[in-house]
């Protein structure tokens, strides 16, 4: 199982702030996880489209598309940050 979290405009678009998920088959990194979520269609396909600037954190550290995702991880998706 992985824990998924969504923040800010992405959370609003998807209508969910967090969920637990069995690691889908073929998912080994951030890019394949994002792609698997896109396949849910609708808001998911739109909000996580490759052209959208979506950031990802794995275990609360910024991650790149090629970074590994494994069972037990906390993975978050969110828009570019705007604090400060």
């Amino acid at each position: 199982m992985i824990r998924l979290r969504y923040f800010a405009s992405l959370r609003e678009r998807l209508g969910v702030d967090e969920e637990s998920l069995a690691l889908p088959p073929g998912v080994a990194d951030v890019a394949t996880l994002r792609s698997a979520l896109r396949e849910r269609g609708g808001a998911w396909a739109e909000a996580l489209a490759e052209t959208r600037p979506v950031l990802c954190a794995v275990n609360q550290a910024m991650a790149r598309p090629g970074d590994a995702v494994a069972d037990g991880d906390e993975v978050a998706f969110f828009p570019p940050v705007t604090g400060g």
């Binding site: 979290r5 923040f7 800010a8 405009s9 600037p53 954190a57 609360q60 550290a61 910024m62 991650a63 790149r64 970074d67 978050a76 969110f78 828009p79 570019p80 940050v81 705007t82 604090g83 400060g84």
Partner: protein, 155 residues
């Protein structure tokens, strides 16, 4: 000493700076950045702003930014306090205060911390205007400001 904090309540910048430099007579310079809520963004009046964050990751990312500043410059102390929740115009959003022996290091490190914070710390602003709520868009200028400092080893 170093400290990073995220809080709902307003902070007292003077008390933060006093704590930063208390009992350290080696400090010759304190440079501080105070970020304030403006009443106008992209030409439209803004009534209130709500700051969302990613609890846990926020503190970790601020600590990582401070550690990076420490590695780059010889500093005597760094303090970052960032508010979340609902704010009104003229209210402070963030304080970055850096103490060092000489001023050059404090100026560089203070600007570095706020530049990295603006692109790496998980905060998001939502504004309430007369025409409704809107999420603030990431400024291209912030990405450029971050890029000036070069790449760190982490993603």
């Amino acid at each position: 000493m170093d400290e990073v904090r995220v809080q709902q309540e307003p902070f007292d910048a003077a008390a933060e700076i006093a704590a930063l430099r208390a009992g350290n007579p080696r400090i010759g310079a304190v440079v501080s950045f105070l970020g304030l809520m403006r009443d106008l963004n992209e030409g439209e009046p803004v009534a209130t702003m709500t700051l969302e964050h990613y609890p846990g990751m926020t503190e970790r990312s601020l600590e990582a930014i401070v550690a990076e500043a420490r590695a780059r410059w010889d500093l005597e102390g760094v303090r970052v306090v960032h508010r979340v929740g609902t704010l009104r115009p003229e209210e402070p959003i963030v304080l970055v205060a850096v103490a060092s022996r000489h001023r050059g290091e404090a100026f560089r490190a203070c600007e570095f911390v706020i530049d990295w914070l603006k692109t790496r710390a998980p905060f998001w602003k939502k504004e309430t205007t007369a025409t409704g709520d809107r999420w603030v868009a990431h400024r291209a200028a912030d990405a450029e400001a971050e890029a000036r400092w070069g790449i760190d080893p982490r993603p």
